[in-house]
């Protein structure tokens, strides 16, 4: 621990702390612009300069490491003069029109900094040069007239999303934030994650959907979890008048630390489906509005006699629903053969099956932060579960290598150091081939008994269509890594072969991805509660065989055309859903229910973290909570829903430790 005295106050901080952070710890706020707590310090704006005893000129506190016994002053008259100077320079550089700017009035850090220094005018007027306003992007506007070149956006694009789209062109007074090689943002490699918008201190990067819709101080903040996929990012919702103005990545989130993907940030804002606002029942071939009582009575009457009967009820629930709802659903339809989810266990069944034999074998997402090689197999981390992809993309300039294996076109192939396109369905041969090369060349970290490495290699080459050289090179890169991580996804798990999972596990152990200290093997799974569903045993494939009734608890999830076809021929279809769809159009009874933001509940993400969503809004008047509807039905069907989800999920061994 090091001692530092700031403005006469003495505190202790760990080695490596910057003076700026130390001051924060001491309750002293040093004005700053380019610094952001989640990005590496830059030291460019110079607003945070402080006087250090014994040093001739002031130093930028955001980049200055504390040294033992340092004495610092942050509020001398000379420093106040310097801060006014820095700000006057910034205002004179571009064109800052506060009167009509979206962030003027509390949300602009530049304006706030100037007001803090009691500046009532600009000592130096700008030169009124015209700067580019880029409106080509579907979600953001990049207005260079407001940019202070703090480079937060460049750093966020690099350090949060790992996409490296934004950079600075030219130098000196000609510096300009540009996308790629100076192309319009809307035509660039931008993946619309919105990290840049979230960190921009001024109105230089503005989110079109939330502009002019109230200052942050008048909005209500609600912290919740994104239910877009199984990564489970923490989000912060900015709301007013019962609607979401903006979604931000939650800096507090242990999974994502503030970053979000396009889906988490914008899908809820782009919701265009029609909300169902009243229970509906088919009468004379047409869906008519009915009362809840009538609808529930009809459903209960219809399902009660069928419950437990062979080919009676097939019950399917969405994995986007909370654990409480999934547990209740399972209990409600426990006596029936088909009780499963819309995912039918594709992302998780084989993984959970293997866990029964092996115990918990998957690691946490954090293991990606210091992986020197990441092997992605059967997953496109550039398209789905994108935040997991960010976690290793952003380390690639530091040397992290990516090996990408996918029989289909994969977004990350351009980025990968090595990519393989094996023939579809040849995964087992490929994995065994890799193992064989490593064992044959003696590169394994731990022993693995393989019968005939030469024939395995031969088989791999023949079945996958990958050359021997490529196979060998891939194996060598993986085996020579110090901290490798293997990520796999639906490409593997949809084959429902736990042998595949087992061989991946063996490969992981062989190369030291999994050992007594690290668990560098994880599957990205699917939807928000895929893991919960499989732990509850809701992961079988369903095959309708003249079933008399199908109950689909869809929530706000989407439904595919093939799913609709598979369930449409049944004689009695009940759908519990939030939005109109082809499925609800075919239903006999439609029960309108809450969406993700109108209910609270627990979710277990892909690496075992148990998190809770918050109820942000009240549901529309005639719409009921998902869980409440199931409870109501249970009462009417004389079925008791006993299980507590916390216990229920312990019934099966989880492939990843739960916490």
């Amino acid at each position: 621990m090091l001692q530092i005295t700031i403005n006469g106050k003495q505190i202790e901080v760990p080695e490596g702390t910057t003076v700026l952070r130390a001051a924060e710890k001491a309750g002293i706020n040093i004005p700053r612009l380019c610094d952001h707590k989640e990005l590496t310090p830059y030291g460019g704006c110079r607003l945070c300069i402080v006087e250090v005893q014994g040093v001739r000129v002031p130093m930028a506190s955001c980049t200055l490491p504390v040294s033992n016994g340092m004495v610092v002053n942050t509020e001398t008259e000379a420093l106040k003069k310097s801060r006014k100077f820095i700000l006057s320079m910034l205002f004179s550089e571009r064109n800052h029109f506060c009167p009509f700017c979206q962030v003027s009035g509390g949300d602009c850090e530049l304006q706030n900094a100037a007001y803090h220094e009691e500046m009532t005018h600009w000592p130096i007027q700008p030169g009124w040069n015209n700067f580019v306003v880029d409106t080509s992007h579907p979600y953001f506007v990049l207005d260079n007239n407001r940019c202070i070149l703090c480079r937060r956006c460049v750093r966020a694009c690099a350090e949060m999303a790992g996409n490296f789209t934004l950079s600075v062109a030219e130098r000196g007074a000609k510096s300009l934030v540009v996308a790629d090689t100076d192309v319009p943002l809307g035509e660039s490699t931008c993946i619309k994650c919105g990290s840049c918008v979230q960190v921009c201190p001024t109105g230089a990067i503005i989110d079109k959907t939330s502009a002019y819709q109230m200052h942050d101080k008048d909005l209500t903040e609600v912290k919740s979890i994104c239910t877009g996929c199984s990564v489970g990012c923490s989000i912060k919702l900015m709301v007013r008048d019962n609607r979401i103005i903006r979604i931000e990545g939650g800096w507090h989130g242990s999974v994502n630390h503030g970053v979000l993907c396009e889906h988490g940030r914008y899908d809820p804002m782009n919701e265009s489906r029609k909300r169902i606002t009243t229970p509906l029942m088919k009468k004379d071939g047409k869906l008519e509005p009915v009362s809840w009582n009538e609808a529930l009575k009809a459903v209960a009457d219809q399902l009660r006699p069928l419950s437990g009967q062979k080919d009676g009820i097939a019950a399917i629930v969405s994995t986007k629903l909370p654990a409480e709802t999934l547990t209740a659903f399972k209990d409600l339809f426990a006596h029936n053969e088909i009780v499963t989810t819309t995912e039918e266990g594709m992302p998780t069944a084989s993984v959970t099956k293997f866990a029964e034999k092996q115990g918990s074998f998957e690691g946490k997402l954090d293991v990606l932060s210091n992986a020197d090689t990441v092997l992605c197999i059967g997953v496109d981390a550039g398209r789905t579960h994108m935040v997991a992809g960010f976690m290793f993309k952003r380390n690639m300039p530091k040397g992290t290598r990516l090996i990408n294996i996918d029989p289909e076109e994969n977004e990350l192939n351009d980025l990968a150091n090595l990519y393989l396109k094996p023939k579809a369905g040849s995964d087992l041969a490929l994995i065994l081939g890799l193992q064989a090369v490593i064992v044959k060349e003696g590169l394994g970290r731990s022993p693995l008994a393989l019968p005939d490495t030469d024939s395995l290699i031969q088989k791999a080459v023949e079945e996958t269509g990958i050359s021997r050289d490529q196979l060998t090179q891939t194996a060598r890169v993986l085996a020579n890594s110090i901290t490798p991580v293997i990520l796999f996804g639906k490409g593997i798990t949809a084959q429902r072969d736990e042998n595949l999972v087992e061989e991946l596990y063996n490969l992981a152990v062989l190369v030291g991805a999994v050992d007594s200290e690290r668990l560098g093997l994880l599957s990205l799974k699917g939807e928000a509660n895929s893991l919960t569903a499989t732990l509850l045993g809701l992961d079988q494939i369903f095959e309708l065989n003249g079933h008399k009734a199908v109950f689909v608890a869809l929530g706000d999830d989407y439904v595919s055309r093939s799913f609709v076809e598979r369930v449409s021929k049944v004689s009695y279809l009940v759908v519990q859903a939030s939005y109109e769809s082809k499925l609800t159009a075919q239903a006999d009874v439609v029960l309108p229910v809450t969406v993700w933001s109108e209910q609270e509940g627990h979710y277990i993400n892909l690496d075992g973290r148990v998190q809770k969503t918050q109820k942000v809004f009240s549901a529309p008047e005639n719409v009921r909570d998902n869980l409440a509807v199931l409870n109501e039905l249970a009462t009417r069907m004389n079925i008791s829903l006993e299980s507590n989800w916390k216990q229920a999920i312990l019934a099966r061994k989880s492939s990843v430790a739960l916490n």
Partner: protein
């Protein structure tokens, strides 16, 4: 090298080549053959000789007769007269006034004036830079051999410390101390970087060494590697120095061939490899951390310091960054000892300094003189006085961020200590001597234009401050200034010095400060009288005020 009775040196720097030096060499060779002298007379190229008016230049030894400019068709005449008949070819003699000082340094590396002492430039211009054997014959790689086989790394560092050598790139930091810091820094992997970015306007001293004596830099870097525990070095050379780059590349190849670089040098088990890296036109990459960022493939923006490169440099490893001139002193110090080096210069600034002299003087070019001589001596002895009709008005010492001093300060000894006491900076050694026709406002305007263009743009004070300062001084030079502008400039300069991230921003204010300290009257004349006392600035018509 065979012993020959005479030697013809022909300048073949880019300008000489442009004027036909290669054809001249060919014709000379043919002429020698015609007179059957090829076994007795050697022809050797000579790199930049530090003059520009008499190229291509031909010097014949042992008489040390200098001819120039010599055309290809004169070659036969010269050979016939001087080498065959033994007479001076008078018609081709270089005019004496162009040579004063040069015949001297060509005669011996002591220089024309006994006060000139060539350590850094001891070989440049006298040997063929593309022939390692000529380097070896002139004590080349002796110092490296001595260091590796007779002294420990600590002893090497001690010698450099005792010599009192200070950085010659402009900062003047004690070299031995810097070497010690790197040696003491934790870590197995260390780097040696030679800063050959030389972008300070008017400075071309490093270029002479790189083009004329490249091996001495390789030798110095290897010695540093041995002393500090580094096995890899980089020479960061500005992109515009094409010839120097090629010479260095060739020198590295030759050195590796002869075993002075690479693995197991002098069979001591010491390995040292040198890579060349070119800059791409950014003055700011002369700043050591920006240079390092550039080698790492990033934007050339200076890093936040601390930590310093001595502990966290290239790839975050302990790194030594030294200027070309600094390094060029190392082999001589190792060969001759610290005491020998201290016999030149002043106690606080030992050794010599290479100066590039430019401006309204009779001799412009490069000289190497002991630290501590005064500007008056430079002008009157080495520069052969002001041009006819020119009176010394001001001089800028140390490059574009160097001090602009009035004639009244020309007796200040030029060493780091004295200059610092006088509030003046010595910088990199560029001396711009200006006469009465130079306008201070115009000069400062041009300097600020340079800084504005070269600012990397990372930090607010420099990125915007150089722009604003330029605008104000430009307005003053056009007669559109106001008295308040001078106060604005002072505070701009003060704040830039306080808050800028690196030397560029911090010292961009120096010319402004000196303009207002030493030349305030002339500046105010532009504002109050709307006229330029030196007659240089173009005044714009006054803007109508109501």
């Amino acid at each position: 090298m065979q012993t020959k009775r005479a030697m013809i040196l022909v300048s073949n720097d880019p300008e000489s080549v442009r004027l036909g030096a290669n054809e001249l060499i060919q014709h000379l060779t043919e002429a020698l053959i015609a007179y059957d002298l090829q076994d007795e007379v050697e022809i050797s190229p000579l790199s930049n000789v530090g003059v520009s008016n008499i190229l291509p230049l031909v010097a014949v030894y042992p008489e040390a007769t200098v001819y120039g400019p010599v055309k290809a068709e004169d070659a036969r005449f010269l050979v016939e007269e001087h080498l065959y008949k033994g007479r001076i070819a008078n018609d081709l003699l270089a005019p004496p006034k162009h040579l004063s000082g040069n015949i001297g340094w060509l005669r011996a590396h002591k220089g024309y004036n006994p006060a000139e002492q060539r350590i850094v430039l001891e070989r440049a211009g006298r040997i063929d830079p593309e022939n390692i054997e000529e380097f070896i014959a002139e004590n080349g790689y002796q110092a490296l051999g001595k260091a590796l086989t007779e002294t420990t790394p600590e002893q090497v560092i001690e010698t450099i410390e005792k010599s009192g050598l200070q950085g010659r790139g402009g900062a003047g930091f004690p070299t031995g101390r810097k070497w010690k810091f790197v040696r003491m820094a934790k870590g197995e992997k260390k780097y040696i970087i030679c800063n050959a970015d030389e972008s300070e306007p008017g400075t071309f001293k490093d270029r002479i060494v790189l083009e004329g004596d490249p091996h001495t830099i390789l030798e110095a870097m290897a010695i540093a590697g041995y002393a500090l525990g580094a096995d890899e070095g980089y020479i960061y050379i500005r992109g515009e120095y094409g010839l120097a780059y090629r010479r260095l590349q060739h020198a590295i190849e030759q050195a590796e061939e002869y075993g002075f670089l690479g693995k197991d040098i002098f069979e001591t088990g010491f390995n040292f490899h040198i890579h060349l890296h070119t800059g791409a036109g950014a003055y700011v990459c002369g700043e050591e951390t920006a240079l390092i960022e550039s080698i790492e493939g990033k934007r050339g923006e200076p890093r936040a310091r601390p930590p310093y490169p001595v502990t966290h440099g290239l790839w975050n490893k302990p790194t030594l960054v030294n200027n070309v001139e600094t390094l060029a002193n190392i082999p001589a110090i190792i060969r001759n000892g610290a005491e020998w080096y201290r016999s030149f210069g002043t106690p606080s600034s030992p050794g010599t300094k290479v100066y590039t002299i430019m401006g309204n003087v009779n001799f412009t070019g490069v000289i190497e003189v002991p630290m501590g001589i005064t500007l008056r001596e430079v002008i009157n002895i080495y520069a052969k006085g002001m041009k006819p009709g020119s009176i010394l008005r001001m001089a800028q010492t140390g490059g574009s961020s160097g001090s602009i001093i009035p004639a009244s300060l020309q007796d200040t000894p030029m060493d780091f200590e004295s200059f610092r006491k006088a509030g003046v900076s010595l910088g990199s050694g560029a001396l711009l001597i200006c006469d009465q026709n130079t306008c201070i406002v115009d000069l400062v305007k041009v300097l600020l234009q340079f800084f504005r263009f070269e600012s990397c743009g990372k930090c607010t004070p420099c990125r915007v401050g150089t722009q604003r300062a330029y605008e104000i001084v430009a307005r003053i030079s056009q007669g559109q200034g106001r008295l308040e502008d001078l106060d604005t400039l002072i505070s701009l300069g003060q704040e830039m010095e306080r808050a800028a991230n690196c030397g560029l921003g911090q010292t961009a204010a120096v010319p402004i400060r000196d303009m207002l300290k030493h030349f305030r009257t002339e500046t105010e004349a532009h504002i109050l009288l709307g006229s330029c006392p030196a007659g240089k600035c173009e005044m714009l018509p006054e803007v109508e005020h109501v």
